[in-house]
């Protein structure tokens, strides 16, 4: 019964999330925005790359960087989206206290609201990747994609990001002013430390140690291996050393490391949320509004 109730809640929260995300304008404008936004965001990095390398995009490293950047949209958008649910409900709609005191699984509510963010971001990622293949020569070969590796790694990675977002949501119970900044800071750590646009091997050794505790590091590597296996092989062959720092690990080892690190972050995130929730109730911050 509880599972059925949670599934209903998930569906209804996702519907609410869809209304919040898409109901602010007409469908045509929303579709246009959904296509233009991710491409425009990606082009900033592409132009920087072109300036530095002198215009060469049809190579393995460009594919590595482009796919990593596209995947990072999930980290930034979903992490921000989950936090934003709590901020938005509290500050803009002033519904948080009623949502909070409803007899429901708050985690499921957050997951439902975020599900639509994942869906919209997935569309953005697909658009970005398609643009990369068609316009920039990114080396994605659909016949070579390892779907069996891609599907579970996507599920684990996205769940992990959602749970990280929950921890940030807990923090936003306590600080409306700084929650977005903390969120962006965390996303920035992942951007730099998880091999999003450059391999972690170029980081100082202490930073590489931190990188190896972050689930996003393994997630990026696994998904790249699944989506652009030829480019990853080519990159390893052309550089002549273990450029990603994970070249000697099998796909299975990477999946295990992803699961373990995601599990650790899962426990930590639930812990952070519960502690923040308790402090918020102690200090009376659940239903405050700050106009931020």
């Amino acid at each position: 019964m509880a599972v059925i109730n949670d599934l209903r809640l998930l569906k209804n929260s996702a519907w609410l999330g869809w209304q919040m995300e898409a109901n602010w304008t007409d469908p045509f404008l929303f579709a246009t925005y959904s296509i233009v936004k991710p491409i425009a965001g990606t082009l900033i990095l592409v132009f920087m790359y072109l300036v530095i390398t002198g215009g060469e995009t049809a190579n393995d490293f460009f594919s590595y960087m482009y796919v990593g950047n596209a995947l990072y949209m999930f980290v930034a958008e979903v992490l921000f989206g989950v936090t934003w649910v709590i901020h938005d409900d509290r500050e803009h709609y002033m519904t948080l206290k009623h949502v909070y005191m409803a007899p429901m699984n708050f985690y499921v509510y957050i997951l439902g609201r975020s599900a639509i963010k994942i869906a919209i971001t997935s569309f953005g990622v697909l658009v970005t990747l398609a643009f990369g293949v068609l316009a920039l020569g990114v080396g994605i070969n659909l016949g070579a994609v390892d779907w069996l590796l891609l599907a579970p790694s996507l599920v684990v990675g996205l769940l992990c990001i959602c749970i990280l977002g929950l921890a940030m949501g807990g923090v936003s119970f306590l600080t409306a002013k700084h929650s977005i900044g903390i969120n962006e800071g965390l996303a920035g750590v992942f951007y730099v430390m998880s091999g999003v646009v450059f391999p972690i091997t170029i980081l100082p050794s202490w930073a590489q140690t931190i990188s190896k505790f972050l689930p996003v590091t393994y997630w990026m590597e696994v998904v790249r291996r699944a989506v652009v296996p030829e480019a990853m092989d080519g990159l390893a062959a052309s550089s002549g050393y273990d450029v990603t720092g994970m070249g000697d690990m099998s796909d299975l080892t990477l999946m295990v490391l992803l699961l373990v690190s995601a599990g650790v972050f899962f426990v930590m995130s639930i812990g952070v949320f519960r502690v923040a929730d308790n402090i918020a109730r102690k200090k009376g911050k659940v239903d405050w509004t700050t106009a931020y």
Binding site: Y93, M94, T95, H98, M101, R281
Partner: protein, 325 residues
């Protein structure tokens, strides 16, 4: 029998982040309350007295500093889910709501948070929209509603889940006269429909507390100063009720002084001598029927009749030493 709400030495202290930023505020100071099922219980007090703090604790939004609070027998600090299944809350002046949704979608969404079947939710929403005169707004986006309409929508949001116990925090605050009356009438009808329903209402409107509540707790500076029925609270003042009649064709006033239950009595003729004004200080309320019988027995006509009682504000002034506003 288990109380709908019970608090034991409930205390809530708010401390500033830094000592320089303000003083320690004791919002609730050892509050003991017992509210029975079926009661419409009021908490009357000025702004800042601690009314909303009690409701926040009972609705699991805030933890007490010390003491205990139980709703339907469940500890509000520990049994969150069990408490939340049984309650809902409406706050006056509240304009919350998902502005991008329609009124119906908003109400439906919140009903889903409480696990209501969709069909039943829509049935209840229909009934309540009709009752509150919002039926013609059900397909309009919440952001287009006036403040009063949003408040009414929020009242519906609280009742649509049919809670065992509902907390109404100044529910008529900011509403116009008609809307406030609609809310008050609905509240009375709602609790009379089912003896297991309980309402805990906070207000600083004395008339509202007097009109609606079975019992009232008067609170000031976080302390409960008195708790009883409105009638008994007024007795605390020690003031008697006054009955004033305007009577036509009355020539003999000798018998009125000997009616039992009258503390004092005076009469004055109007300028034309057509009507006599009689003023009785009542020691016993049952004297009213004897007075009326005596007037009619003399063949006189009652032109007007007014009974004045001590108000809850008189009670508050006696207890606190200042007015409520």
């Amino acid at each position: 029998m288990q109380h709908a709400v019970e608090t034991q030495s409930l205390t809530r202290v708010f401390r500033p982040k830094k000592k320089k930023e303000g003083k320690v505020v004791t919002a609730l100071d050892s509050v003991d309350l017992r509210i029975d099922r079926g009661e419409l219980f009021g908490i009357l007090g000025p702004n800042g007295a601690g009314k909303t703090t009690i409701l926040k604790i009972l609705s699991t939004l805030l933890l007490p500093t010390s003491g205990k609070a139980y709703v339907a027998g469940f500890d509000v600090a520990k049994d969150l889910l069990e408490v939340r299944k049984r309650i809902n809350m409406v706050s006056g002046g509240e304009i919350s709501g998902y502005g991008l949704l329609t009124v119906r979608e908003n109400l439906w969404m919140f009903s889903q948070f409480y696990g209501l079947k969709s069909k039943e939710a829509h049935r209840r929403i229909d009934v309540l929209l009709d009752r509150f005169g919002l039926r013609d707004k059900d397909k309009e986006k919440v952001r287009t509603l006036s403040t009063g309409q949003r408040q009414k929508m929020n009242v519906i949001r609280g009742f649509v889940t049919n809670p065992e116990i509902i907390f109404l925090d100044e529910p008529t605050l900011g509403l116009d006269v008609n809307a406030a009356r609609t809310v008050r009438e609905f509240v009375v009808d709602w609790i009379r429909e089912d003896p297991n329903r309980t309402i805990l209402l906070t207000t600083h409107y004395m008339m509202e507390a007097d009109e609606l509540c079975d019992r009232i707790a008067i609170i000031d500076d976080g302390k409960i100063l008195a708790c009883d029925t409105p009638h008994n609270l007024k007795k605390l003042v020690g003031m008697n009720s006054t009955l004033t009649l305007s009577v036509g064709g009355l020539n003999d006033i000798n018998d009125f002084g000997s009616i039992p239950g009258i503390g004092n009595f005076s009469s004055t003729k109007d300028a034309e001598g057509n009507a006599t004004s009689l003023r009785f200080i009542l020691e016993d309320e049952s004297a009213v029927s004897d007075i009326v019988s005596t007037v009619l027995g003399k063949g006189s006509k009652i032109l007007s009749l007014q009974k004045t009682e001590p108000t809850l504000e008189d009670v508050f002034i006696k207890l606190v030493g200042r007015g409520l506003e």
